[in-house]
Amino acid sequence: MLRIMRNKLDAPVFTSPFLKPAGLALRSYSSSAKQMTVREALNSALDEEMSADHNVFLMGEEVGEYQGAYKVSKGLLQKFGPERVVDTPITEAGFTGIGVGAAFYGLRPVVEFMTFNFAMQAIDHIINSAAKTNYMSAGNINVPIVFRGPNGAAAGVGAQHSQCYAAWYGSCPGLKVLIPYSSEDARGLLKAAIRDPDPVVFLENELLYGEAFPVSAEVLDSRFCIPIGKAKIEREGKHVTITAFSKMVGFSLKAAETLAKDGIDAEVINLRSIRPLDRPTINASVRKTNRLVTVEEGFPQHGVGAEICASIVEDSFGYLDSPVERIAGADVPMPYAANLERMALPQVEDIISLENILKDVDENQGAPTSNEDQTPMMPLGVESNLGDAFHETETWQLNGASGLQVWEEVFW
């Protein structure tokens, strides 16, 4: 295998300790924990980073005088002036290109899209001008830019304003794609993104802007940063791993609470980073729980869940007690009518009603056995909706030296 030298890790940054798990509802308040909305978190992150580095500037529609279309940049124009908080005309291709060009020169732009749906007009600059330039120039020109804005569905905004772009940007080498859930995520990841020397796509969520989360003193410190590429285990569990990002983390946590009442202990992973994807954390979790459910708001085909599923199948196939379940948005453009819209997006009930999980757990009277004393064979009790593929795999495993070698690689 081809390996290249791993550099020494940079000086450690503050990371947030795991929020201590399970029993506690995640929004528990101690008298010392401050409440902060995601909006405030983003605003404070922008404020601090712009204060710390004169090269950081904000650019986008309504970011200045309007105080931000969603008030994320409230007060910044007053504090930093129109040179650093730049209101642009409604010309995404133009101002995104200008932002990337400024980053070429050495500034650190934060380009705001009113939603990522509009970023499609500028996607050539995000991918071809920003993501690929460091590679094409062999390191001569790097692009320290952040593209941020709301992503995914809002409420009742219709098909053209509701798409989730995590999978699209997540497939591009050269980009980093971050997607916060809580205020702590929002602050830490945005600060990390602005400090990062590479192009970062920062996918927020409009419906989360107003939600408040407790934040510790450490999170409020101006040096606070969350490492890029590390997922967070929001809730530890034993029976099933649920991966989610953005708003779906909240839904998954609610689902986990309900599942807990039925004796199913779900581990909820907040991905935080779509690219790089924290494969080690997800794999370690699945090797512990043996079951995986991926949750996302976006379209199912070629989605984030598909990539996670493929990754688990590659690295932890033998540890799976049941096929990976994907929960995603409906494979339709987003409808407007409230009932149809509700059907088009994953709801908490969808995450809970997982037939395989409940079936397996019931059969094994509450807790599936751990993997340690099992011989590495395909579990027999599984409903093979894999069908013929399953049997083909079995044959492949037993015949042929190369098949056995790969098998060994997976298991030993």
Partner: protein
């Protein structure tokens, strides 16, 4: 009489400075000469500059040598492409050399240039070496982008050259972004964003121009109008092919792009304007002898007569040759010697580039990010080809 003078000059070279009756100017002299541009400038919402351009013998000789070098490089690239040593795209600039050379004469390396994919000569003009050019074209590790970019992706940030872009028109907003950054940093320098008559119709040009004008950015948009956008003539692509006027509220200037001095004057004028008043559009009326790229013969949409006509009447190197001869700065033979020297230099660079090895396989995974966080990246066979991004 002239011949006698010349011979005397040859013999008396060391004393030529003292003898005022023979060659007044040596090729290293910086005594100013004034030349007239071949055609007047045309202005749009601006008073055009004068046709008289100050130059020096040194500059004239440099123009000749630099353009001869560029011409020779592009012809050599043509042969290399046909020999299959260069793959993929190869867009040649021969015929347009005066634009690069004239521009460089008017600006410094602190000013920025950004262009599209016809970038070999611009890169050379910005200080790139022949070896870096040829090695990059052949995909070798001594190339300016270590072989990972190719013909369309030459860069040289330390000399203010920001590429080398394959997407038509994308370089214009990027160039306005460079100008934005220059203004933000209070640098007192300008950016030249170059594009062709094909790209002149791109929407993002007008989006970027609007913002450049709104914010008074020191951006100069330079349309290298070689009259063909790939195979489509300008009259078939643009309702209004007066590209210097397309800026509407932004002033424009049209110059003869085959005349290095006209280009120099226009760029000097534009730089002064941009630093005080914001964006300006320059249209350089130029011509490319080759087709759009090496896969285009260049003769299906224009006649060979047209091409040879331009070569005879308007060739930029011939214009300088005539100027050099008429100002008595060098003999025909000396100029031919320079061309031979240039040819030799190019041949040597090619030989050296051919020796350069291909990039190491580990380079597949380098430079994806500046900071890779130790993340894994995979090749086609995910078990075999993988690396950790540093």
């Amino acid at each position: 009489m002239a011949q006698l003078t010349r011979r005397t000059t040859d013999l008396l070279k060391p004393f030529s400075a003292a003898l005022s009756s023979t060659r007044l100017l040596t090729t290293t002299s910086t005594t100013p000469i004034t030349v007239e541009t071949s055609l007047p400038f045309t202005g749009h919402k601006i008073d055009p500059p004068s046709r008289s351009v100050e130059t020096t013998p040194q500059e004239l000789m440099n123009f000749f040598r630099d353009m001869a070098l560029m011409r020779r490089m592009e012809i050599a690239a043509d042969s290399l492409y046909k020999a299959k040593l260069i793959r993929g795209f190869c867009h040649l600039y021969d015929g347009q050399e005066a634009v690069s050379v004239g521009m460089e004469a008017a600006i410094t390396k602190k000013d920025c240039i950004i262009t599209a994919y016809r970038d070999h000569c611009i890169f050379l003009g910005r200080g790139g070496t022949l070896l870096e050019c040829f090695a990059e074209l052949m995909g070798r590790k001594d190339g300016c982008s270590k072989g990972k970019g190719g013909s369309m992706h030459f860069y040289k940030k330390d000399s203010g050259f920001y590429g080398g872009h394959g997407i038509v028109g994308a370089q214009i907003p990027l160039g306005c972004g460079l100008a934005f950054a220059q203004k933000y940093s209070k640098d007192e320098n300008v950016t030249f964003a170059m594009y062709g008559d094909g790209a002149a119709n791109q929407g993002q040009l007008f989006e970027a121009l609007n913002m450049a004008a709104l914010w008074d950015l020191p951006a100069i948009l330079v349309c290298e109008n070689n009259h063909y956008g790939m195979g489509t003539a300008e009259w078939r692509a643009a309702k209004s092919p007066a590209y210097y006027k397309r800026g509407d509220y932004v002033p424009g200037l049209k110059a003869n792009g085959m005349d290095a001095f006209a280009v120099k004057q226009a760029c000097k004028f534009a730089k002064e304007h941009a630093l005080k008043n914001g964006p300006i559009i320059l249209e350089m009326d130029t011509y490319r002898y080759h087709g759009h790229s090496m896969s285009d013969p260049g003769s299906t949409y224009r006649t060979r007569d047209e091409i040879s006509g331009v070569r005879q009447e308007r060739d930029p190197i011939e214009r300088i040759r005539k100027l050099v001869l008429s100002h008595d700065l060098a003999t025909e033979k000396e100029l031919k010697d320079i061309e031979k020297e240039v040819r030799k230099e190019v041949d040597e660079a090619i030989a050296q580039a051919k020796e350069s090895p291909m990039p190491d396989p580990s380079e597949l995974f380098t430079n994806v990010h500046v900071k890779g966080f130790g993340v894994e990246a995979f090749g086609a066979d995910r078990k075999e080809l993988r690396a950790v991004l540093p």
